[in-house]
Symmetry: C2
DNA sequence: CACAACTATATTGTGCACAACTCAATAGCG
DNA sequence: CGCTATTGAGTTGTGCACAATATAGTTGTG
């Protein structure tokens, strides 16, 4: 890698780490488009569905946001699209009318079986073993934790 | 981690790897907003500037796109904003009128010095050593390469 | 009870990403 | 030379992300 001519060689590092991270996310998202074709889900919608499938109970918008680190500005329109698609219902919590509870419809629940092969297919596409995936997960999780604490300083 | 109750436990893995990757990219992007405040650059704009700073010659839109894996639909409006900000110029290549050559202005070149501390600050925020960063970079690069070849199949 | 502080969601505006498409310019070929 | 195929950039439309703001509902306090 040629960095010899740069006035500020340290800037090359940003292209070397931050760019691959950025590119990897877009590559994964792109792969999901193919894998999720037929379900009509986008990648962020799939992540929301994963959280709902893992929950026994309906979840509020804020609760989904905490799990996925997304705010209402992103989730509200996304959830409306899932509602239009007939995969979720959105009902005001009778006990606290500020809250909107998101619950799965029959179709939404049924979709889980249809995508059950996706993680396996993606694992193959990424060309890494389960152990490598778990190690990578840990590094990325650490990174997010560090950035979260750094942001508040 | 409780996955015992799931009908399809393999779906938990997508939340365990793909979600951290997705969250890490957004956390890094968010950190850059703070670090780049004052320059007026967004994270994708900063990446474009990094490529221009590392180039001796003006680059075409396609050439920038290959380096950053972005298409003209993303780059054209982004480059127009950089042009409006006075950081780059966009001129048709006299030798091939289809091509638009992107070159740095004096202001654009001067900005390099102003952001030269950013990689160091980000490294601190991420809480990883240079060696860890390079190892992570290699894993992510491998991942992108695998996904690229998988996509075409 | 009145009312200020707080909470949960929704809305608005900006900026990516990317697929699909258009259009102008160029290259290649008979 | 004339015609077709290709290439490079731009446009359009959809769907995130997220900051900033608005609004309705709730809670705590005097």
């Amino acid at each position: 890698m040629d960095v010899s001519g740069r006035t500020y060689p340290q800037l090359a590092l940003d292209l070397q780490l931050c760019f691959p991270l950025y590119a990897a996310t877009r590559a994964v998202t792109k792969r999901y488009v193919t894998l999720l074709k037929g379900t009509g889900l986008t990648y962020p919608q799939y992540l929301v569905m994963l959280v709902l499938w893992e929950s026994e109970e309906p979840r509020s918008v804020t609760s989904l946001g905490h799990r996925l680190r997304l705010d209402s500005g992103t989730l509200t329109p996304l959830l409306k699209r899932l509602e239009t698609a007939g995969l979720v219902r959105r009902d005001r919590d009778p006990g606290d009318e500020r809250r909107v509870l998101v619950s799965l419809t029959g179709d939404g629940r049924a979709l889980e079986e249809q995508v059950s092969g996706v993680p396996q297919q993606l694992g193959t596409s990424m060309g890494i073993t389960r152990d490598e995936a778990l190690a990578l997960r840990d590094q990325l999780t650490d990174l997010v934790d560090h950035l979260d604490t750094a942001e508040s300083s």
